[in-house]
Amino acid sequence: MRPALPLILAAVGALLAGCGGSTRPACPAGELCLEFGNTGDLISLDPYKGGTTSELQAVGEFFTPLLDTAPDGEPVPGVATKWETSPDGLTWTFHLRDMVWSDGVPVTAEDFVFGLQRLFDPKTASDQASQIYAIKNSKAVNEGKLPLSAVGASAPDPHTLVITLEHPWPILPYYANSLVMTPTPKHAVEKYGDAWVQPQNYVGNGPYLPVSVKLGDKVVARKNPRYFDAAKICFDQVSFYPTIDAVSAERRVKRGELDVNTRIQSNRVEYLRRPGQMPDYVRVHPWVGVTYLAYNMRDVPALKDLRVRRALSMAIDREFLTKKLLRGGQQPAYGFVPPGMVDYKDGPRVDWADWPFEKRQAEARRLLAEAGYGPKNPLKIDIKHRNTADPSLVMPAVQADWKSIGVLATLTPNESQIAYEAYRTRDFQVADAGWVNGNNAMDYLYMQRSDVGTQNYGEYKNPKYDALLDEADQERDLAKRAEILKKAERIILDDAPVTATFFMVNQNLVSPRIVGWVDNSLDTHRIRFMCFKDAAARVAALPKQ
């Protein structure tokens, strides 16, 4: 046993050292590395295939879309430096800068045309495509009714991109800075096929490029030396961690192992703000996002019944969820469109919004009884939910609320991407989902259209609703448009294909060492605008915005 003792002591010593000190991964000498807690894994590095906030954050660093996003979340010139609109608002012309892909091939307007065709190609099966159905013929192409070449995008010369629309769409710049409007490296896709998103084949035009991808561990990205503004990039390397457990991520941030984590477990915000904890790390800001439950109306007979859906929606105590359980500044949701829309104020609320909770419970029980469910024949249902911090807190409360009206719910937690994949294939009964898109009411309302594709998780179909949204698309007067959208929202509140539980806040933990992070209601943060405070020379070089 004797020789073992020093070994054991050494092991214990190493363990203690590991616990006490920072286990920040080594950074190459002379370089600056950002350790970024990104909440979830990246299932796909294809800009058109991922849709979670984790994927948008990381893949957003690997590509520069038509427009870029300023630190405050607003669209600013990206690949396009300037643009103009035709008088009828149907044709947009973008002028592109000189830029090369990471393999040196020039980025041309043709890459955007190819990208949009690939986005709308039914074979790509992107669930992000429906956001920009305003582009001419895009919906028909996406449904396989027209050839890819019919998409309303053309490249008269390598530096000019012309986009034609179905209807006037003044908010296009708010989509032009998202991943759906990134160019696709045609030459790389033709060479490697679907494998072009493997790190060894990856071609991007963003400030960073992925060099190693380990699911469940981290994605390491290095500065792209061919990025047009590469000289101003502060961090040489960025690692994205799938920090599903927000509480342990918080401790890693505190230890200095991570510089940022994009999620705080809501009910800890108050605690973290206390002096001596991490008050200068906590960043809480209203977020244009809604958390909701979707009812599977395709496969679950009980949920086809409006009375059941209404009862379930009514029985959730949103005041308890937001004020007592989450306590992170979330607002109880009685509508579906979050506050903070640029084109839409004071949307409708559900008709039972102001009822006392007891009255809602009584009405819910009555509706369930009417639908044939009662103590002898209770409704049994499964809620599939994301296993991230807040859903894991909220779902047991929803379960308890439903139990008090006699509904027996089971919970099935899944990793976010797995859960969303299940929702897309309708493998759920009740789905817990969140949606953060933009600051336009349509960004939220379009999801319940019958023709939107996989994102209408519950397969709600209402021609009247679709017609109202079409009408709103054609309306150029913003006030009148808002009125039409309100009528549409009223319909989904009455029909309850989904029920919103609360409106989100974004909660980030950001080390005070970082400069250039600006809280914004879209929660988009481009890393090329950030740096460490102590790296003065690089801070001075940051792009001015």
């Binding site: 800890r268 605690y271 904890q277 007592k324 308890a400 099935t412």
Partner: protein, 305 residues
């Protein structure tokens, strides 16, 4: 390992197959073992405390003023010893005492059921392989080796995929993995036992192989098996908490000690009682099992002291 002759097989009042059963008045080896066990203070304390815990887990949940899944919206994160909640409440206002008792019940049930499954399969498999020997032994133990190489989590996930998420299934899954070690231990013991004279005698008397394994080999394996069982139960309780943490085990609102602790660890700074009380119960339970296991080993197998 003290060899117990067939006359001293437990639970039968002596008398093995084929032999006339004479009532035994003197001190049997089992009496000795019992005396030695009860002289071991730690083991006795373990037995008493564990008995209390078992009783609490069985009837406690019916006595608490709150149900374990009852959400008390006005009592969120109430500390212990304040007002109506003896041990405080969690973030949903659920009474910790009620949850703790239910959690203990679930953990103990998982531990016992899984261990019984592993015991039955492991002893039968190991004793058969050891007794029959030869090629049968080779094949049976290679099967054990192969199963050993199967990653536990992978196996559990596979079961979940095939049979769906089911609480009972988890017991079986854990038991179905834990039996491997048991089978090895039992086989090793059996190899030694089957050369002993009383087995020879039984064989000469014409007792069939299954009966020899059941009546003569198995009872003599009791010592190491009992010890291993008391060590398996805590291992299973820990495995359950691990599975629950991964979302494969018990699900809300049901809970277990492991789940309570992992949730409590998250809220450690805000509501320390959510971590402290379940941890105490977990530690005490595991210590009881270990003390009892220790005591039993010393009692049944005094040579090891």
């Amino acid at each position: 390992m003290t060899v117990l002759g067939p006359e001293l097989a437990p639970g039968t009042g002596g008398g093995a197959a084929g032999l006339p059963s004479a009532p035994l008045k003197g001190r049997s080896l089992w009496d000795d073992a019992r005396r030695r066990l009860f002289r071991n203070r730690a083991a006795v304390a373990g037995i008493v405390v564990l008995a209390l815990l078992v009783v609490a887990a069985l009837i406690g949940p019916y006595l608490t003023p709150y149900a374990y899944d009852q959400v008390n919206k006005d009592d969120v994160w109430v500390g212990p010893l304040s007002g109506a909640h003896l041990l405080g409440t969690d973030s949903l206002g659920r009474d910790l005492l009620a949850r703790l008792l239910v959690g203990l019940r679930v953990s103990l049930a998982v531990g016992v059921v899984a261990t019984v499954v592993s015991l039955v399969i492991g002893v039968a498999w190991g004793a058969t392989a050891g007794y029959l020997g030869g090629r049968v032994d080779e094949v049976m133990m290679r099967i054990v080796d192969v199963l050993y190489s199967l990653p536990f989590i992978f196996f559990v996930i596979l079961l979940m995929v095939v049979f769906g998420k089911n609480f009972i299934l988890m017991f079986l899954a854990i038991g179905a993995v834990e039996w491997l070690t048991m089978a090895r231990i039992v086989r090793g013991q059996t190899l030694g036992l089957k050369e002993k004279e009383f087995i020879e005698a039984a064989r000469a008397a014409g007792v069939s192989s299954p009966r020899i394994v059941l009546r003569h080999i198995a009872p003599n394996l009791l010592g190491p098996v009992v010890v291993y069982v008391t060590l398996t139960i805590p291992a299973v309780i820990l495995a359950e908490s691990f599975l629950s943490f991964l979302g494969l085990g018990v699900q809300e609102p049901l809970t277990s000690l492991g789940v309570l602790i992992s949730k409590g660890a998250q809220d450690m700074e805000l509501a320390p009682w959510l971590l402290i009380f379940p941890s105490i119960v977990m530690v005490v339970t595991l210590m009881c099992f270990n003390f009892i296991g220790d005591g039993l080993r010393d009692a049944i197998d005094p040579k090891d002291r």
